[in-house]
């Protein structure tokens, strides 16, 4: 029990995370929470979904347990399994079960990456039943009112083989995330990247230029996260051009012409 308390303590967000609300996403998420509804966050990579969850958890004063989903994620990985300790078989709760028991928020990041036969385990939690069947324990765990389920994914141009089934997605209240407007984005980059506002403004302009290249073959432009990365490198003494090249240009594309164009954009802004 102590160990469990320690784990939950680890997942508490004690300091207020920096998050700038752009629309009503916080208000809607809180309303969903109080109604026991799960939320689905969708948006391009690096636009603040995970940070939003941290902020929400802090506001609601609940621990946040995050699971990064992948192809090999099994139901046991989520729900739990028996392990052998000192000759005894001991049940270990998985992150999902832990969150349900503790009334925490369980956040499944990039949920489309998990296999569909794994994802269905969340169905009973995501509708009005709000319960988790643990077959190996013979237990039907009812979720307390404080528990919340959240999932996220990037609906960008992707494979048809990786998609959320309608039966899964229709259980959620969905929040669409996108890059913030330029002033907000500059504020975020300034604050999180630890750089001057003028430089942040230019970085946001840089990102905007890359986001206009969709028709030239670049599926996604620079995310806010990449800009923050640039700021952090600059804080370590890396010159701005090299920081842009490493943190943005080379991360976005391998196409030589696009690489050259994006590099020229950085040059035009930063010299």
């Amino acid at each position: 029990m102590t160990a469990k308390k320690n784990i939950l303590a680890e997942h508490r967000i004690n300091e207020k995370p920096y998050y700038l609300q752009t629309d009503q996403e916080v208000t809607i998420a809180e309303a969903a929470y109080h109604q026991g509804l799960p939320i689905l966050l969708k948006g391009p990579t690096g636009c603040g979904k995970t940070r939003f969850m941290q902020y929400l958890a802090w506001r609601l004063d609940r621990p946040l347990i995050t699971v990064s989903c992948h192809d090999d994620l099994s139901t046991s990985d989520l729900v739990g399994r028996y392990l052998i300790r000192a000759g005894e078989a001991v049940w270990m709760d998985g992150p999902l079960t832990l969150a349900v028991r503790a009334g925490a928020i369980c956040y499944l990041d990039e949920v489309v990456e998990a296999r569909k036969d794994t994802t269905v385990v969340i169905h009973p939690l995501a509708d009005d039943r709000r319960e988790l069947p643990i077959e190996k324990l013979g237990e039907l765990l009812a979720a307390p009112p404080e528990f919340m389920l959240a999932v996220s994914y990037n609906p960008g141009y992707q494979s048809v083989l990786k998609d959320l089934k309608p039966s899964t997605r229709q259980r959620f209240v969905s929040l669409a995330f996108d890059y913030p407007d330029p002033d907000h984005e500059a504020e975020i980059v300034c604050r999180e990247g630890g750089i001057e506002p003028d430089l942040a403004r230019l970085l946001v302009r840089f990102a905007e230029m890359t986001r206009s290249l969709r028709d030239s073959g670049l599926a996604e432009g620079a995310s806010t996260r990449l800009l923050i990365q640039v700021g952090k490198l600059v804080g370590q003494g890396i010159d701005i051009r090299s920081a842009c090249r490493a943190a943005v240009t080379q991360s976005l594309t391998d196409d030589p012409e696009l690489l050259a164009a994006i590099d020229e954009m950085a040059g035009s802004l930063f010299g």
Binding site: I84, R205, A261, E264, M265, S268, G271
Partner: protein, 753 residues
């Protein structure tokens, strides 16, 4: 070789042509006793078929050239000569050949000009990034922009180093973008100049006795303002270009301008705007700089200063020198033409959308019936019976969206969103949408008169089958039952070497494609927790032991098996064969199909290809190119080569037909990929929102049947409607048709991995 041997050799190389022997003797004379004869003569078969005269010139110049370049560089020199011949004619090629050192050797050492075609690949995305996708690039004699395209010289040789010339290209492109962005071409005429909607820059300049001079002065003032704008927006570029701008002033522009007073100082300020306190300027230029460098300075400030400057210049008799290199020229007529073109496109869209809206509006029926009675040649309706009104914003709600109403015979209905957007765009372009109303009524009346009834035309294609399909009417939220007749036809294959020519053209790419798609064919992965397999799954084993200790029955799924993931994908490609695709269907789309088929054959996914077109609801057509389980035979290849443009784009019946074809296909993943160049549209009233909604509904029906629709389009206006029809992530726009063959297999690969 002696002269006779040289002459005979020449005749061998140019056979079966038989030039005059004395001309040949004259030409080969310089080669007598040359050690590099073979190298020289090896280029004769390259040049002679292109131009006999050029070939003789070559022989005259080559000996001199070989004193500067090596034999191994000779083919490159000849190629460069031919490039100059093809772009500039014989004279250009002759000039190029004469000065080998300057024209060729310097270029080989990187000491020379830059060419637009060499940097176009990255300069275009750069300009599109600056402008948010709104500007294109094209070559021209001198730089300018018409607000839709930035025109740049094909070659820049202002500096001796190539990298400086490339930087100059960037600077010129940035200035032309800046002019668009800061409103140089559409200044607002308020305050001092009155608020007349008819005011334009052209009229303003014509009010001066010498409008050309006034235009030059205005453009120079705007160049100064654009420089300050660039200093704020692209500070890096301004810093990087400081050196070349200084050199431009010192070496290129300054010399002529130092004799001038006001204009010379103004041009100096344009070149060195970021060093202004250090650069000594005097009045009135100091005033100009102070005013135009302000953050809030607008084109109106330049208009006012233009008047002051004109008076001063006219009084002192100064003449402006040629424009600064990065300034370019002011082409107001091109701007006007581009704007009119944009107005025309949006106007036509508005007209179409409004006429369709009227056709389906019960309140408009009486008006349209009157139009019908006027007959086909009736044209325009009475102007005051239909007008567009704007709802007055309620006090306190000024920020609410404009509400626009269409008032017909005193009955008002709200305009739908698409029409509201188009009206707003028209207003932004300075067009009064009112004048389109009467045309729309006329057009709607004529469409109503034409109504239904398609005449079938005789086709040499074989009819395979005929079926009827419903059509979705979004207004009544219901189907028009059995509204469309769709005929599946065979394409008559013509004898063509199109496919083999395409395979030859893309040979290298096809090899790479096959490799890529082979890798996709089987994805090996370890399957855990299997009842049997190659290896023990220790995680599962440990869990099983733990379960046993806990008193649970142990699992028997304790092995890992290596499995090849069998792809179980079936895809139908649906090709828009309408007449509007004529520009591209001839090459790009057919080449894409050939490449795609090569990739699909390697991959092993099941695929079918159909085209669609037709005219009116009773004559919708699909064309069989390849059935889904048909082998990729020569006959299929011939059909691909025989694809030709047809008629209109009534997309929805074709999509419904594909959905019905999929019923007999058993596959885990079923894809429908449409290749299109425009909106769904037919000859009759099947246009605008009605057509988009019907197509969207057909796609929704496909999705409900478990099919994933996806669209590849080259329509520039795709973003207006594709997201609504296919969904935001289920279409892709290809901005350069020539890239389609390369991108199609890539798109398929990403979609199905």
């Amino acid at each position: 070789m002696n002269i006779e041997q040289l002459t005979n050799r020449f005749f061998e190389l140019v056979a079966p042509d038989q030039p005059n022997s004395w001309e040949v003797e004259d030409a080969v004379l310089p080669l007598v006793d040359s050690e590099k004869v073979e190298a020289v003569l090896s280029q004769v078969p390259v040049i002679w078929p292109i131009s006999n005269s050029l070939c003789y010139n070559y022989l005259a110049q080559v000996t001199g050239a070989l004193s500067c370049i090596s034999e191994s560089e000779l083919p490159a020199w000849v190629n460069a000569t031919l490039d100059h011949y093809e772009s500039g004619g014989l004279r250009a090629a002759q000039r190029f050949m004469i000065d080998v050192e300057r024209n060729f050797v310097c270029h080989m050492r990187g000491e020379s000009g830059a060419r637009l075609q060499d940097i176009h690949g990255w300069l275009l995305p750069y300009v599109q990034g600056l402008s948010g996708g709104g500007l294109e690039l094209a070559p021209a004699r001198a730089p300018y922009t018409d607000t839709g395209t930035v025109y740049l010289p094909q070659e820049l040789k202002v500096f001796s180093r190539e990298e400086d010339n490339i930087l100059l290209y960037k600077l010129i492109a940035a200035y032309q973008w800046a002019f668009c962005r800061i409103g140089t071409f559409f200044p607002s005429f308020t305050g001092k100049f009155g608020n007349d909607a008819e005011c334009s820059l052209q009229n303003f300049l014509r009010s001066f006795p010498d409008s050309a001079l006034a235009g030059r002065l205005y453009h120079t003032l705007e160049t100064l303002r654009a420089g300050f704008f660039l200093a704020r927006e692209l500070p890096g570029l301004v810093r990087m270009s400081r050196d070349i701008r200084r050199r431009l002033w010192d070496a290129v522009h300054g010399a002529k301008r130092r004799q001038m007073f006001v204009l010379g100082q103004l041009d100096q300020a344009c070149c060195l705007f970021d060093a202004v306190p250090a650069v000594e300027l005097q009045q009135p230029v100091t005033n100009f700089v102070n005013r135009l460098s302000a953050h809030h300075a607008g084109a109106g400030d330049s208009l006012e200063l233009c008047q002051l400057l004109y008076e001063r210049v006219a009084h002192e008799g100064e003449e402006p020198a040629e424009p600064l290199v990065f300034q370019g020229e002011l082409h107001l007529s091109a701007v006007q033409a581009a704007r009119e073109q944009q107005q025309k496109i949006i106007g036509e869209q508005f007209l179409e959308a409004l006429s369709v809206h009227l056709l389906h509006l019960p309140e408009a029926r009486p008006l349209l019936e009157e139009q019908m009675e006027k007959g086909e040649g009736g044209g325009r309706a009475d102007g005051d019976r239909a007008i567009i009104l704007e709802h007055q914003a309620e006090p306190g709600k000024e920020n609410a969206a404009r509400t626009l109403y269409l008032k017909i015979d005193n009955e008002a209905t709200e305009l739908p969103e698409e029409l509201r957007r188009l009206v707003s765009d028209l207003h932004d372009l300075g067009v009064n949408p009112e004048r389109y109303i009467t045309s729309a009524v006329g057009r709607a009346g004529q469409a109503m008169a034409r109504g239904e009834g398609g005449e079938s035309t005789s086709e040499e294609q074989v009819v395979v089958s005929t079926q009827s399909y419903d059509e979705w009417d979004f207004r009544r939220k219901g189907f028009r039952k059995n509204w469309c007749i769709l005929t599946e036809r065979e394409i008559v294959p013509l004898r063509t070497n199109f496919v083999s020519a395409t395979l030859a053209k893309y040979h290298g790419r096809i090899v790479r494609l096959r490799h890529q798609f082979e890798m996709m064919r089987t994805q090996e992965r370890f399957l855990r927790r299997q009842r049997d397999g190659d290896d023990v799954d220790f995680d599962a084993l440990v869990e099983s032991l733990a379960d046993t200790r806990a008193g649970l029955p142990p699992s028997d799924r304790l092995f890992i098996r290596l499995r090849r993931d069998e792809r179980d994908i079936a895809v139908l490609f649906l090709l828009d064969m309408s007449n509007s695709t004529e520009g591209w269907i001839g090459t790009a789309i057919k080449e894409s199909l050939v490449l795609l088929c090569e990739a699909m054959e390697t991959l092993g996914d099941r695929y079918g290809i159909y085209g669609f077109s037709g005219m009116r609801r009773l004559r919708c057509e699909t064309f069989h190119i390849k059935h889904i389980d048909e082998s990729y035979t020569d006959e299929v290849r011939q059909r691909i080569g025989s694809i030709t443009p047809r008629e209109y784009t009534r997309m929805a019946p074709a999509i419904r037909h594909m959905t019905s074809l999929f019923k007999t296909v058993d596959a885990r993943v079923r894809l429908l990929i449409t290749l299109s160049d425009g909106k769904p549209e037919d000859y009759d009233d099947y246009k605008g929102e009605y057509a988009i909604e019907d197509t969207r509904h057909a796609l929704l029906e496909a999705r409900s049947a478990g099919i994933h629709p996806f669209c590849i389009t080259i329509d520039r206006h795709a973003h207006d409607y594709m997201a609504h029809m296919y969904g935001d992530v289920n279409y892709i726009f290809i901005n350069n048709v020539a890239k389609l063959p390369a991108r199609m297999p890539e798109i398929y690969r990403v979609l199905t991995t």
